[in-house]
């Protein structure tokens, strides 16, 4: 469950301000966040993830006030309970596909990297059709393949919440459909909550709800 109440966030440098009076996304929901470029969608996602902290109001994830936690605690929540898929894919180029998937375990000693996790990584890569490329450096993969690795990385920890920042923006139509199918299936299998930013209105029927953001104002609860 995600709850945002009376949120105000302003970047130090610019005059852009994001405001959300009230937004609640239930457990297991699949919510799309739409809005024009520069409207504040990514800022909203980063506030939910605890990457940014609002100057006013509170962000709660599963009942915990993420916005009032210290940086270390927010990072821990991000690593253990959230999975993130980025618009620019953002893999670590010098790691193999398998190592990228296992990265959350490598960078957080609280997560135990055991045989089961490695098997899950292998299974995920197999599921997305990349098992043959698991040991290959991701710099040699196509955009579509890289994004599939990014999706596996987001889901390796079996997070309760998956945050996706326009994951199909840099993909062609075929890759978009394939990536979306995969993301939806995996999220459903893990019964996770999905919050995904998108420009692509053709994807909206796949979601339970749509949240609109325009000029820094969040209008929640719009039913698709």
């Amino acid at each position: 469950m995600i709850e945002l109440s009376d949120i105000t966030f302003a970047y130090d440098a610019g005059g852009f301000t994001l405001k959300a009076k009230s937004l609640a996304i239930g457990k297991g929901d699949k919510a799309a966040v739409i809005g024009p470029s520069g409207s504040g969608k990514t800022t909203l996602l980063h506030l939910i993830a605890g990457i940014l902290v609002p100057s006013q109001g509170s962000v709660r994830v599963d009942g915990q006030a993420v916005s009032s936690m210290r940086d270390k605690a927010r990072r821990r929540v991000r690593l253990t309970r959230m999975g993130m898929v980025f618009q620019g894919i953002e893999l670590i180029d010098y790691l193999s596909a398998r190592d990228n998937v296992l990265l959350p375990y490598r960078i957080n000693s609280a997560l135990m990297l055991d045989r089961a996790v490695k098997e899950r990584a292998g299974a995920l890569l197999d599921r997305v059709g990349l098992s043959a490329m698991a040991g290959r450096a991701v710099s040699g993969l196509s955009q579509g393949e890289r994004q599939r690795v990014g999706i596996c990385r987001a889901l390796i920890t079996k997070p309760g919440l998956v945050l996706a920042d326009e994951p199909t923006a840099s993909l062609d139509d075929a890759s978009t459909a394939s990536a979306m199918d995969l993301l939806m299936q995996l999220v459903e299998e893990d019964d996770a909550t999905l919050v995904m930013l998108t420009h692509d209105k053709s994807l909206l029927p796949r979601f339970d709800r749509v949240v609109g953001v325009d000029k820094g104002l969040v209008s929640g609860g719009v039913v698709s």
């Binding site: 953002e90 790691l95 960078i107």
Partner: protein, 379 residues
């Protein structure tokens, strides 16, 4: 820390080329001053110890350093000879009490110095012992130092041949075949790299004496031009002889061991006041010599410091550019939940891996330089 080590290792392993270039650049930069310092220290210690162990040297007037290197390290410098009679003169002078050991080191065998001396006295003075064989029993026999034997691949029963210095003067520089009868234990100094013969053999090599072919005994001198090497054998040893005043036969230096401080002072006073001779205290001359070397090293160090500063700035630039290039990676790691400190740690460990690699180059390179320097520097 384990996470940082993992990422750092993966990064350096993925970009082996870049990493190796950085390691090589830093390693070579550090190797030069480190190796020079180690070699100078090692030589200071070894040469200093040999100089300390030699109370006095008497030789012809001239360059002090040449005489020192000639007498202690068998480097054929531009020193003049002194007559062998000086040995007798020193030992029989009632004004002081001293032992005198002649050294004749003007020739080589395969670039290994041939040292003519009073073998019994010299070996006793230097504390040399035999690994194999023993002292020569006749002219034409030799004892070889441990390192020279190893390098030339010879032992007791083998032979080495004296190099000819002047191919056009047939009466001199006999290509004498020297039969090895003893190999010395290693000493880690110049004695390891020498072939020792008695004074008579050294003089025959120098052309001051000769033998006669058995069939021509009494009428015709053995002709160096007609044979590739002359060998002294039990059959012909009696035909070898020296012409002229034997007391004037040369030696390149005389090692003097005075009985006491007073004797040393008297000998110094006596031979430093003559036109022909000079008396050295090796330890003092060695200090002067190393002082010169260290002064040159300071210039070298200054040069290294400047080049080093330039390289350090370049490496800093490379690191800064690398950090800039990896900004996106840091941002991704942070978004995933990685602490900023871990990212800094990762880059510090990467730098440590590069430095460790550079230090391996320094260690291996220094060991190689130390191993080859005796052959390269010849002392």
């Amino acid at each position: 820390m384990r996470s940082a080590c993992y990422l750092a290792w993966k990064y350096t392993a993925a970009y082996k080329g870049r990493t190796l270039i950085l390691i090589a650049a830093l390693g070579l930069l550090l190797l030069l001053p480190a190796a020079v310092t180690l070699v100078i220290r090692s030589y200071d210690a070894r040469m200093g110890a040999r100089a300390e162990a030699t109370p006095m040297i008497i030789g012809a007037k001239g360059n002090r350093y040449d005489l020192l290197l000639q007498a202690l390290f068998f480097r054929d410098g531009r020193t003049d000879d002194v007559p062998i009679s000086l040995v007798e003169e020193l030992e029989s002078d009632p004004a002081f009490d001293a032992v005198a050991i002649p050294v004749h080191s003007r020739h080589t065998a395969g670039d290994t110095p041939i040292v003519g001396t009073n073998l019994t006295m010299y070996f006793r003075f230097r504390g040399l012992s035999f690994k194999e064989g023993g002292l020569p029993e006749m002219m034409g026999q030799a004892v070889i130092g441990h390192a020279a034997a190893k390098r030339l691949g010879v032992g007791v029963g083998d032979s080495v041949t004296a190099d000819r210095v002047n191919l056009y003067t047939l009466a001199k520089d006999m290509p004498l075949k020297l039969n090895i009868v003893g190999v010395l234990e290693p000493t880690n100094n110049a004695d390891d790299e020498a072939v020792f013969v008695d004074m008579e053999t050294a003089w025959i090599i120098a052309g001051h004496g000769h033998g006669h072919a058995p069939e021509a005994h009494g009428s015709q001198a053995a002709h160096a031009a007609t044979v590739t090497a002359i060998e002294i054998t039990p059959e012909n040893v009696d035909t070898f002889h020296f012409h002229g005043d034997e007391s004037k036969l040369p030696c390149s230096a005389i090692l003097v061991i005075p009985s006491g401080h007073k004797d040393r002072t008297l000998i110094t006073a006596r031979y430093n006041n003559t036109i022909r001779y000079q008396a050295l205290r090796p330890a003092e001359v060695m200090d002067e010599l190393m002082g010169l070397v260290l002064r040159i090293k300071r210039l070298f160090d200054a040069n290294t410091a400047m080049v080093g500063s330039a390289v350090v700035l370049l490496v800093a630039l490379v690191i800064a550019l690398s950090m800039k290039l990896r900004e996106a990676e840091r941002e991704t790691l942070h978004k995933l939940g990685c602490g900023r400190w871990l990212i800094v740690q990762t880059q510090v460990i990467e730098l440590a891996i590069v430095l460790a690699g550079a230090l391996v180059i320094v260690a291996v390179g220094s060991a190689v330089v130390l191993a080859v320097s005796p052959r390269v520097l010849g002392v």
